[in-house]
Point group: C3
Chain length 349, copies 3
């Protein structure tokens, strides 16, 4: 095996293959502080040990999207270093909470392979899993990417497209049993609107905008030890399609989620991701705005203190969201839209 | 109540009103490391657990201005989201020291209200207080801001302008009893000049300059969970008065304080703020310089190991301070001045 | 002594002089997280407590170059504030590992002084040492700098040029006894190539490129409390030789070391620095590439689980390293080269 990793190409993957990803990573208070500084997140549960203790946890858990980005970052050198496009996510569930000091290891299993008609590329689908030092699964999700072939003439594997759920069923969402909202303080959380106050179809403009600088997205993406080249190497990107570095789509998710505090202050915990599309790229200097729509309101099994909301989170570039920019009648996204995310949160009732 | 916070307008405030601010925040080693990286602060007490232990504390306390910014940041969504101008500070006292792991909650009491003649705005004065997880007050200060009215025709409250001290009396300054300077090591601290070496009227040029980038002030201000829009949203600010984002005035204070190490290396602890004016805005790319003047030298009650210095800290933009730029004979600030801060520090004697 | 530090000039140094540097510094998880975010380092030993424990340590040690930069940074105000050039390093040995929570103090001993013929400057050579709170030496190294004289007519000291080893002898390298590679997991570390797989003369292109922004190098250099003015003050530098801020050479070392993961994933521990030259300056916006050459392969005394590799690490600016840019036949560096570092690493066998 070469000492330098040039990444896997489409023909290197095998259906059912299991991949252990480097580098195991201990998430610390340092990562948490940096995540707040990079995103401006203000959710009380992840900001305050005292608040987390009042809800039954030992300390503030790590932000779910920080966990996601760390696990995702590990998978890049093996799964998507030669990817042309990150096509989608599905069936993500956040299971055990992660605390500062926990060490995460990521693994992936290849669950789908399908060569494209051009024979230049193929679709690789993996189920990736993050496990803590006790062996608990903290996160599992599916993503699929279009990966280059090293050799267009390499034989194609038997095509296999996995069956994926359109959304995680509410019955499969896991709110940590220790986390209870019985003594929830809405003043400290920031806003009084709880689960029952949100109606299906309701749309919320998150009002604020956040401009992203090169140093910021690069810091974030390096913090996740994500090695996708397009985010870091201006020398090469200056000769590429856009002439500049692409901002990691996960940073857009985190910024949009942080903006969503203004309207969803009590959406303390991410439970799952049903799907998501990075509709258009973001570049440094762009300002992210966001709005949300309530897609579904569901009970959580065995819980009377909390419920689940299924939300669409839409982020735009340089476009305030008072009129909820999304798709036209033909189903094409508005030119301002950069992210369309479908996810589940837990909220006190 | 709306799910989205659009902030309070002048007519929303009531004299005597108490406001509990979101989001409670645990300050960690991550915040401390980031604060050093953002400001370049080199004071030994906040940099070294060993040094802090040699002075009687259990570990290095959190920088006083980091505490100030965290408490201040919490107040923004409720007090100054619709502010036109941050007019002043007074009567700030730093009380119990804050350590990594402590959680701060901020509250404010409205102590002054006065509509302006235009009826478009009014002055709101609040006393804000930061409290730790044990209920100890760590910081209390007064600030007043000019806040927009939602409706110019809304009736004006009875005008009330609180009586504020021109300066915190030295007798009211609190140096934590556990913190003693008996075994103080001037070599590790950086410089031998102690309390008795500073004369009233003495001026010190801090010599160095620090340029501020967009990513830096935005990281700092998000770390404080300060949501003032002018610092973050280039899309909106590009259409505004200055065409660009304003740097949070508190970041200027922190940079100037860090620069003041060169001349005031033994000013280990901030005890109080008497007043302060953000004389002019700073924008990214500007270089901050600073100088100090000794305004007063005072004993600290019951302490023979330490004394207090009252200092004027002046920061300029793109202007070295060898000739102490300040005000002209008519009392107008030099065009280079961006900050004029009057504060108390503790220094070993 | 003046309250403001204007740094030592050549005639202020005395042979044999010992200098205790301010500011003692506790390195925390915050610094570690920031270091990863600034450099993108992915070595498993410094990223994961679990991985470090599997190798016999109590937790992940602090990255050796972060330790180096912190110790180096302390020496700047006393040694090189008036330096014209940082000429070289030698005889660096990393001894006891450093863990988050450790406090480092730096001292230097003047071991060489030699006025230059111009009488405007002189060469100062110091042996600098970093010591932890238990009194263990964690790092010792020699560096020499060209320092301005305050007064060209000041008398020159007796010239003394210390004898320095061309390289640290392998017999003098210290791999912490507690750190053993018996249960080393190459999958988690990232790559299977171990000590015996590297041949003397072998060259490795690290493939990736990393662009550096102003905010990034300034954050890093302030995190190290390094006060060299050329890195921070755009107002002054805009009038200087380059018209802009210079990036701290140590940041280039750290970026190149992080890039070297791709090809040297198992080079878990730096043991020593034999020499190094900052061949050309790097400015913000430049993209760093790197390649390595194996100079020597040595056994480590008493160890059958690990061996040492002596490596040349070359970093370039805006120049991919597939053809290993270095020197021409006359011995002159290629215009793209910015760093030429000669160092020892430990690797499992």
């Amino acid at each position: 095996m070469s000492k330098t990793n040039s990444g896997n190409f489409f023909e290197d993957f095998r259906l059912g293959q299991n991949i252990v990803h480097a580098t195991p990573r201990t998430i610390t208070h340092g990562d948490v502080a940096l995540y707040i500084a990079l995103t401006g997140s203000r959710f009380a549960l992840t900001s305050s040990d005292s608040f987390a203790r009042s809800l039954g946890l030992s300390q503030a858990p790590v932000d779910d999207f920080l966990v996601f980005h760390i696990v995702f970052g590990k998978t890049v050198p093996d799964i998507s270093l030669n990817a042309v496009a990150n096509l989608g996510y599905a069936e993500a569930r956040f299971l055990a909470p992660v605390f500062p000091g926990d060490t995460l290891v990521a693994t992936s299993r290849v669950i789908g392979l399908k060569e494209n008609r051009s024979r230049q590329t193929g679709i690789v689908t993996v189920r990736s899993t993050g496990v803590n030092q006790s062996g608990d699964i903290v996160l599992t999700y599916v993503r699929w990417v279009m990966v280059n072939k090293r050799d267009p003439d390499a034989p194609a594997p038997e095509p296999h497209v996995p069956d994926l759920a359109a959304a995680v069923s509410a019955a499969d969402l896991e709110l940590p049993p220790a986390l209870t909202f019985t003594d929830y303080d809405v003043a400290l959380a920031g806003r009084p609107s709880l689960w029952g106050d949100y109606d299906v179809g309701e749309r919320i403009d998150h009002a604020d905008g956040m401009t992203v600088e090169e140093a910021e997205h690069a810091l974030a993406t390096r913090a996740y030890q994500n090695t996708a080249r397009v985010h870091f190497n201006q020398f090469t990107e200056s000769k590429g399609r856009f002439g500049r570095r692409l901002i990691y789509g996960g940073h857009v998710i985190s910024i949009a989620r942080a903006l969503s505090f203004n309207g969803l202050a009590n959406a303390q915990k991410i439970l799952g991701l049903n799907g998501g599309a990075h509709v258009a790229p973001l570049f440094a200097g762009g300002t992210v705005f966001a709005w949300s729509e309530v897609l579904e309101r569901a009970e959580l099994k065995g819980r009377t203190d909390a419920g689940a909301l299924r939300l669409r989170l839409v982020a735009t570039k340089d476009c305030p969201c008072a009129d909820f920019p999304y798709k036209d009648n033909a189903g094409a996204y508005d030119a301002s839209v950069i992210l369309d995310l479908d996810y589940w949160v837990a909220m006190p009732r």
